[in-house]
């Protein structure tokens, strides 16, 4: 059985890149359709096939490398071993609790910081006077790695919940301000001028012109920063927590459960993927599709 799996894995490992290289070199899928076409949509089926192939290839390389034991199996367990550990994680039920705690911390750390950071970015992007007040100090703090604050945060808050939430908030806030400010400044001035000549007051220009005009960019900024939030969450939980996915990483590491460590890392990846799909869905649904210029239809 395992030789069969190894055979399949080796076949995929070698054939997928070969097929890809073949497609790129001949530059055709079928007649007329070029493989490399600038920003042109491809059939959904082809897209899924390529994406699936890409995942399968990674899995195959891993299977091939681990089964042949080129690398110490303790360092790189087989996918089967990791899959077993993955199932093992869920058998206890504790992991669901860990996921819940971690996601809650992300939400509590991210949303208040994201909302205030976005608002302050809107102010800085719209008003040059507030830009002068906000952006220079913001840039100064932004260049300090958020992890440099960890020791200070522990002194302030101890190892409890405030540490996790504040590290996430600190890690994303200053980037959100800067990026939102840039997005607002990219809004064409004509939109504002049109609004003025239609008798719109400043509040209206702020909330009904600059905010919606920058909103698709702001959603992208949120999407980028929520993945950064996970980084800081894991760091904070690794330092000392009794629940959470970072705690699970730490525990797997301490008790030398390497397959479980891999399983937890993958689990965090899957949760990240779900978050990302959620933002993608918001971008599509929340009347922000005007930015896409109807490429798909």
């Amino acid at each position: 059985m395992s030789t069969f799996i190894l055979f399949i894995a080796l076949a995929v490992t070698l054939s997928f890149p070969s097929i890809l290289v073949y497609l790129i070199l001949t530059d055709s899928v079928r007649q007329k359709a070029r493989f490399l076409e600038f920003r042109k949509d491809i059939p959904r089926f082809t897209f899924r096939l390529l994406a699936l192939g890409s995942f399968l290839w990674l899995l195959s390389v891993w299977t091939a490398v681990s089964s042949t034991q080129w690398i110490d199996p303790h360092l790189l367990p087989t996918p089967q071993a990791v899959a077993e550990a993955f199932v093992g994680l869920f058998s206890g039920g504790q992991v669901l609790f860990d996921i819940g705690i971690s996601v809650t911390r992300i939400l509590v750390g991210f949303f208040p910081a994201a909302l205030t950071g976005t608002f302050i970015g809107l102010l800085a992007g719209n008003f040059r006077s507030l830009y002068a007040v906000i952006i220079p100090p913001n840039t100064f703090v932004r260049y300090i790695p958020p992890t440099a604050f960890i020791a200070l945060l522990i002194v302030w808050f101890g190892l409890g919940e405030p540490l996790k939430v504040s590290l996430i908030a600190l890690g994303i806030f200053f980037f959100l301000v800067q990026m939102t400010m840039d997005a607002v400044r990219a809004v064409p001035l004509e939109y504002l001028e049109v609004a003025y000549t239609l008798g719109t007051r400043r509040g209206g220009v702020f909330w009904r012109v600059t905010l919606p005009a920058a909103l698709p960019d702001i959603m992208v900024i949120w999407r980028i920063n929520i993945s950064a939030a996970w980084t800081f969450l894991v760091v904070a939980e690794f330092l000392g927590a009794t629940q959470g996915l970072g705690r699970l990483l730490n525990e797997s590491f301490r008790y030398n459960r390497i397959p479980q460590l891999y399983a937890t890392i993958l689990l965090i990846g899957f949760i990240g993927l779900i978050f990302d799909l959620f933002f993608e869905w918001i971008l599509m649904k929340a009347r922000l599709s005007w930015r896409k210029y109807y490429v798909e239809s």
Partner: protein
């Protein structure tokens, strides 16, 4: 008829020392359709922006109904050459934008918006987003959006400049019919002589920058204007006359200041 808009010795110099408008005095009467003609970059757009209140004059006074203009307001509506429909709003919501800004309740807005969308021929597209529309349709959205707040003066800054010839002449007829129906006061900036003569009842001509009123004349064709007016002999003669005039102004500017050669050639 009453003077609606008056410019009294208005000049505008941008820092650093670019003279855009030089000593312009102008009286605009109610219900006048004025075309402002000049080579590209002559400062005619700046003139509209001053009237709109989007820029402040360096000297001189602009007043509407005797009130000095200090900033932008809905009594002076502007349509730009660039497509400025708000892409996050549907056609209908774009047209309602100004009324909503002014706190007009939904039910009252509805009637105005419906009437205007029908007038500019976009009723069937009311739920569409601007990015799905052609250039001509986008300019109709912009026009309807401006008309919705019922401005005293319509400032049109080369609104048809980016359109193809066919769409352009359709839009000219639309503008004329809007002017005929509701008797707006219109200031229309263009660098196209034929367009200026076909639309306006008064023509103001400037040479290359800085903008100056070099000629101010009545265009002697009565409304309504059929589209074949453009091919008539009197129209062709007048067009020829204005072409010569504009050419003379450009040449004159060139001899006075040889450095202008480049900019006037591109015009």
């Amino acid at each position: 008829m009453n003077t609606l808009l008056s410019l009294n010795r208005v000049s505008k110099t941008f820092t650093p020392r670019i003279e855009a408008i030089r000593d312009v005095s102008l009286e605009v009467k109610e219900n006048e359709f004025i075309c402002i003609l000049g080579p590209t970059g002559c400062g005619k757009s700046t003139l509209l922006r001053l009237i709109a209140g989007l820029e402040q004059p360096s000297s001189g006074i602009i007043s509407l109904n005797g009130q000095t203009i200090k900033g932008p307001g809905s009594d002076r509506g502007m349509v730009f050459q660039k497509y400025t429909s708000f892409p996050w709003l549907t056609v209908e919501e774009n047209v309602a934008f100004g009324l909503k800004s002014q706190g007009v309740p939904h039910d009252e807005r509805r009637g105005t918006v419906e009437h205007l969308l029908k007038e500019v021929g976009l009723w069937d597209f009311r739920h569409a987003y601007p990015s799905t529309l052609s250039g001509g349709m986008q300019q109709r959205v912009a026009l309807a959006r401006t008309l919705a707040v019922n401005p005293r003066v319509l400032l049109l800054d080369e609104p048809l400049g980016a359109l193809d010839a066919q769409t352009r002449s359709e839009m000219q007829l639309l503008l004329l019919s809007i002017f005929m129906n509701s008797k707006h006061t219109i200031l229309f900036v263009t660098h196209d002589i034929e367009e200026a003569l076909f639309l306006g009842q008064r023509l103001i001509v400037s040479g290359p920058r800085p903008f100056e009123v070099r000629h101010d004349m009545a265009i002697p064709f009565s409304y309504p204007r059929p589209s074949d007016l453009r091919t008539s002999t009197p129209f062709a003669n007048l067009e020829q006359q204005v072409t010569m005039l504009l050419r003379r102004l450009i040449l004159e500017a060139r001899t006075n200041d040889p450095s202008l050669c480049e900019s006037s050639r591109s015009a």
